[in-house]
């Protein structure tokens, strides 16, 4: 360092110490909002293992994993949109179904490779349309993705005739769908792999850093010379790619695909993300926590099914859990400010 810098430092030391820092109390509430998922999940699993008949069987656990994979893949992808402060991507419903139908309909005719190309091309379109409308046009993400959901589903139903597609028996889709390593289905490895990849992308790369930074403060990010609009397109693209992968996994598992296959994916993914501790206000969150959130939602669903509680109550429960989780987040922020 040159002399002048040392001068500044000397000055700094020589001056009266000012009240330079406001210590922030990190209250119990904010700890729960961020880390509560660990406890919630542990308690849920413990209670279920003892109290719920049939929960702790290998078969049941495999089935939980099978069901968790597609919704989980969607959720870890959509975490990017949530962290960027753009609430959510409702159109994942249309994206998963589009991918599922393409993988089976095109895959049966032209093989898996062509189908994969077609499916990812479709997800590229979704990501770009959503991202450009939200990023470049600064349009409300909820409304934009509501519109693209209906555009996408309408087109899908039109081209598919609303019919159900079945994969070729013993075709590559079915083989993948039924593949297991021990009791663990292949789809679980896909979920883990994408979680790891997206987690590294979020925490170790410039792109992930910018997604977070945009979520914290859009203006400051832009005024650091960042093309923030492109970052938003990136976040929607990540979500779209993940949704396509989810469509593949989902279609492979049942070896069928139909335009209505992914109903409710948007909410369940959002519920998993929020329960995992990612803030709906953007800027704070993690892909790994979303994975835990997914496990929570899946285990909860499984328990409700096992004890014979109907679909309606499950839906009701998730809605209330979303509201409570967000309330917790808001209250912890309010207390943190004081």
């Amino acid at each position: 360092m040159d002399k002048k810098t040392t001068l500044t430092q000397q000055m700094a030391v020589a001056q009266e110490p000012e009240k330079a820092i406001v210590e922030r109390k990190t209250g119990a509430l904010s700890w729960v909002a961020q880390n509560g998922i660990f406890i919630f999940l542990a308690v849920l699993i413990l209670v279920a293992s003892f109290a719920v008949n049939g929960f702790a069987s290998l078969e049941n656990l495999t089935s939980i994993l099978n069901r968790a994979a597609p919704i989980g893949i969607v959720a870890v992808g959509m975490t990017y949109v949530v962290i960027s402060g753009n609430y959510l991507d409702l159109s994942v419903v249309a994206q998963v179904a589009t991918a599922g139908v393409i993988f089976l309909a095109v895959g049966n005719e032209y093989g898996l490779f062509v189908a994969a190309l077609a499916a990812f091309a479709a997800s590229l379109v979704y990501g770009i349309v959503n991202g450009v409308a939200v990023g470049y046009f600064k349009a409300n993400a909820v409304i934009v993705t509501l519109a693209t959901t209906y555009i996408g589903l309408g087109l899908l139903r039109f081209f598919s005739g609303g019919s159900i597609f079945f994969g070729n028996p013993d075709g590559p889709m079915e083989q993948f769908g039924q593949a297991k390593l021990g009791p663990i289905p292949a789809s679980t490895f896909v979920l883990l792999a994408i979680t790891i990849v997206l987690s590294i992308l979020l925490t170790r790369t410039n792109f992930g850093f910018l997604v977070k930074s945009f979520g914290v403060n859009e203006k400051a990010t832009r005024l650091a010379g960042v093309n923030t609009d492109r970052v938003i397109v990136g976040a929607f693209l990540v979500t779209a790619f993940a949704a396509t992968l989810a469509g593949f996994v989902f279609a492979a598992y049942s070896n069928t695909a139909v335009s209505t296959m992914s109903q409710g994916f948007d909410f369940r993914a959002l519920a998993a993300i929020i329960i995992g501790g990612t803030s709906v206000f953007g800027g704070r969150g993690s892909v790994l926590r979303t994975l835990l959130g997914v496990m929570f939602v899946s285990v909860l669903n499984n328990i409700l099914v096992l004890v014979g509680i109907s679909f309606g109550y499950q839906q009701l429960a998730l809605g209330i859990i979303i509201l409570l989780a967000v309330t917790l987040d808001v209250l912890s922020r309010k207390l943190g400010e004081k």
Binding site: L7, N206, A224
Partner: protein
């Protein structure tokens, strides 16, 4: 005579810092009281407490002998306290009449009586002598006219006391002149007025009494007739104002780094300027003169309608066509609003510093954690961040330290040009001196510096050359030797001031 409005022993702290510290003021009927003080002295906070918008920690507001409940805007209005805000608080998409009667429109069983509403609005506008279409939307009006609509709203509430917070900030001299005589008329009719300003001449022209605040404390209450502007300024500042001649730099500017030609943008009317390497150019003028708009248009942070901007670094000339290209070419920007535009407050110091330097601190897109740490550590020490803890959230630091983080962000890029907009607003005296020294160091090391400041002593201390901006054009250019507060102010205000 008894006081109409009295504020007793008001205290208010924000996060441990006392913004208002045991202040008492009172106004009699027809009295015009000035409240003066530097930026951050606590004037606005005190007034917001009077108006029931901010909640005081202790103390009372008493109107005609009755204590007003805390933080109840409606009760304060009903008791007769009306505040004209510093930041315009009109609803842009509503009409003039609706805005004048915002929240207090006349009704019969809940239904707005439109005709009567317009009559009241018209009467209020006539009372202040302004004519404007009552059905026009606020968003279509000029800034000056909005200011008058705002005053009409306050007057329409038939207040006992009218509080105006820096009402002339965005007015031309003629409009200011009109406003002052209008306020005098209102006072002659028995309305009490509290006038907040840091423009001392206005205070001496208009007011009867002056209360001086400094760092939240009440320094004194003076009878305007028995004091002098110099006395008031001395008490406001609490130190003697002198040119710090020892800190003068001997500048020897190099080649032209920034060349901006024919810039036109919102609020900017055909301005050209150059900044050389190692040179500090200051932009002076009143708030709203178009300085911020000018620098933002130059570096592409806001759109410009016309104009060509080039940056020459190491003999290579690059055209600046967007903010991203500006940053890429070597521009650093310290924006006016540090908390919203300059920093991501809930991110750490290290993360904030990484933001503009991310390309240098990564390899094929992956961040280099160790390199980031040493880089951020170095810079935070270099700017004198106290304590230099790079894992703390930026929002935990005080204003002066936050500004050092913003500067550190750009220092890391060794910028060819750095643009600073009000670099020391709301910063304590110590940090201010450090920031000044940093800016001079940058220039000494060959960076071209462009500074916008409303703080005249700051401008005079830093700038080698001062361009004074008024109404979106440069009205005068002063070298360091020529410049003094009077000259800059007269160019800024557009008034011919005789040379003493």
């Amino acid at each position: 005579m008894a006081a109409v409005v009295e504020a007793k022993n008001i205290t208010k702290a924000f996060g441990g810092v006392k913004a208002v510290d045991d202040v008492s003021v009172s106004v009699e009927a027809g009295e015009i009281l000035a409240v003066v003080g530097e930026n951050g002295a606590g004037k606005s906070t005190l007034m917001r407490i009077l108006a029931g918008i901010e909640t005081q920690d202790s103390g009372q507001v008493i109107v005609s002998g009755e204590v007003i409940p805390k933080s109840d805007a409606k009760a304060s209005i009903d008791a007769g306290i009306s505040l004209v805000h510093q930041e315009l608080s009109l609803v842009p998409e509503m009409t003039v009449a609706e805005n004048i009667l915002l929240g207090s429109a006349p009704t019969t069983v809940g239904i707005t009586r439109t005709r009567q509403m317009k009559q009241i609005a018209q009467a209020a506008l006539e009372e202040i002598g302004v004519s404007v279409d009552l059905d026009e939307r606020i968003s279509k009006l000029s800034v000056a006219l909005r200011q008058f609509v705002e005053i009409a709203r306050a007057v329409a509430r038939k207040p006992k006391v009218l509080i105006l917070d820096e009402p002339t900030a965005s007015l031309t001299p003629a409009e200011t002149d009109y406003l002052l005589s209008m306020l005098q008329r209102l006072a002659d009719r028995g309305m009490s007025i509290v006038y907040i300003s840091h423009r001392i001449p206005e205070v001496f022209r208009l007011c009867d009494t002056v209360t001086i605040l400094r760092d939240g404390k009440q320094i004194s209450v003076l009878d305007v007739a028995k004091t002098t502007p110099q006395q008031v300024i001395d008490q406001m500042v609490g130190r003697e104002l002198k040119k710090d001649l020892e800190s003068k730099r001997s500048s020897s500017p190099g080649h032209v780094v920034l060349k901006a030609v024919g810039i036109r943008a919102e609020g900017v009317n055909d301005i050209s300027l150059e900044v050389r390497a190692g040179e500090i150019i200051g932009l002076g003028g009143l708030v709203g003169a178009g300085r911020t708009e000018l620098v933002r248009a130059i570096i592409g942070a806001d759109p410009r309608k016309l104009g060509k901007v080039t940056l020459t670094v190491n003999g290579k000339t690059k055209v600046i066509s967007s903010f991203e290209s500006a940053v890429k070419a070597g521009v650093g920007y310290v924006p006016e609003e540090r908390r919203t535009d300059g920093l991501a407050l809930t991110m750490t110091v290290a993360e904030n510093i990484t933001l503009p330097n991310r390309k240098e601190l990564s390899a094929s897109g992956f961040q280099l954690a160790r390199k980031i740490r040493t880089f951020a550590d170095d810079l935070s020490k270099r700017v004198g961040l106290r304590p230099p803890e790079i894992d703390r959230e930026a929002g935990q630091y005080s204003g002066g330290n936050q500004q050092k983080i913003v500067i550190a962000k750009w220092l890391g890029r060794r910028p060819a040009l750095i643009v600073l907009d009000e670099p020391t607003r709301g910063v304590d005296v110590g940090a201010k001196a450090e920031i000044h020294r940093l800016v001079k160091e940058l220039a000494d090391n060959g960076t071209a510096v462009l500074v916008v400041s409303s703080d005249l002593p700051e401008l005079l201390e830093l700038a080698d050359t001062i361009h004074v901006v008024r109404d979106g054009t440069i009205t005068g250019t002063l070298s360091q030797e020529e410049a003094d507060e009077k000259r800059v102010m007269s160019l800024a205000a557009g008034e011919q001031v005789e040379n003493a």
